[in-house]
């Protein structure tokens, strides 16, 4: 193993934020920022679905292998799904949800619901409500 001696050792240990600094710089670009936030939201939703299913599985006391058998999947493939080693397919997610007595629901974001309600409420009534 190559060991290099230099004054940067302590700095290296403390400074792992180069990428964070670069990210902050890139966020000044509106196109980058918009896409980053959009992707972040999308990723968070997929991750939340997978983690919710895993929590339901644990709460039901079902092993990954048992869940795999219930949905006619290879136990190793279900284990890989829950550890993010492969990209989950929607039909597999739906099958797992069914096996765990759950269902997938898509609903408008709260902000959109608010906007829609606001659009439906007459202006006079809005003023009275305020």
């Amino acid at each position: 193993m190559l060991v290099y001696e230099n004054d940067e050792v302590n700095k290296l240990a403390a400074d792992t934020t180069y990428r964070e600094r670069r990210l902050i710089e890139r966020m000044r670009d509106p196109e980058f920022k918009a896409e980053y936030l959009r992707a972040q939201s999308s990723i968070a939703q997929v991750d939340a679905v997978m983690r919710s299913l895993d929590n339901l599985r644990e709460a039901a006391g079902i092993s990954k292998a048992q869940l795999a058998r219930q949905i006619d999947k290879n136990p190793a493939s279900v284990r890989r799904l829950f550890t993010s080693e492969v990209n989950p397919e929607l039909k597999t997610i739906a099958a797992m949800a069914y096996a765990l007595d759950a269902e997938l629901v898509v609903q408008p974001r709260k902000s959109r619901r608010r906007m829609r309600r606001r659009a439906r409420t007459p202006r006079g009534k809005r003023a009275a409500m305020a």
Partner: protein
């Protein structure tokens, strides 16, 4: 505990992944950064990365890739190593080694993966790890 995301820096000072990201379309770059942030916040074994983060197999076992599709049916990949206890740095890391792009429905060749592993081996051969600072 969130992991740090670091970029591998070569001995000549170049940062392969930065050069790669600099050539990527802005939206692809943003998406890749969002995946890295998500995985750093909830590292394995948690499910993370929204399906755009996968463990590699075969000759690339030990590497993880960020997989993002771009415009004009092009696909973009970042190649990463995870280290729970990297020498000299004292905190778990996602080390981003480099990236590659390819046309949809094509595969990277052995030489492409060999080139990634050369960089990864360089990274793993340094103590403390040589990263962009």
């Amino acid at each position: 505990m969130p992991w740090a995301v670091v970029y591998y820096k070569r001995e000549d000072g170049s940062i392969p992944v930065e050069e790669f990201l600099g050539d990527c379309p802005v939206k692809v770059e943003a998406k890749m950064q969002a995946v890295l942030s998500a995985v750093a916040d909830a590292p394995p074994p948690s499910f993370s990365g929204g399906g755009m983060w996968e463990a590699m197999h075969g000759d690339m076992t030990g590497y993880y890739e960020v997989r993002v599709n771009g415009p004009k049916r092009e696909q973009f990949r970042l190649f990463c190593l995870l280290e729970r206890d990297p020498p000299g740095l004292g905190e778990p890391l996602i080390a981003v080694i480099t990236g590659m792009r390819k046309a949809f429905m094509t595969k990277f060749g052995k030489a492409d993966y060999d080139a990634v592993r050369v960089l990864g081996d360089e990274y793993k051969a340094t103590s403390p790890r040589r990263i962009a600072t």
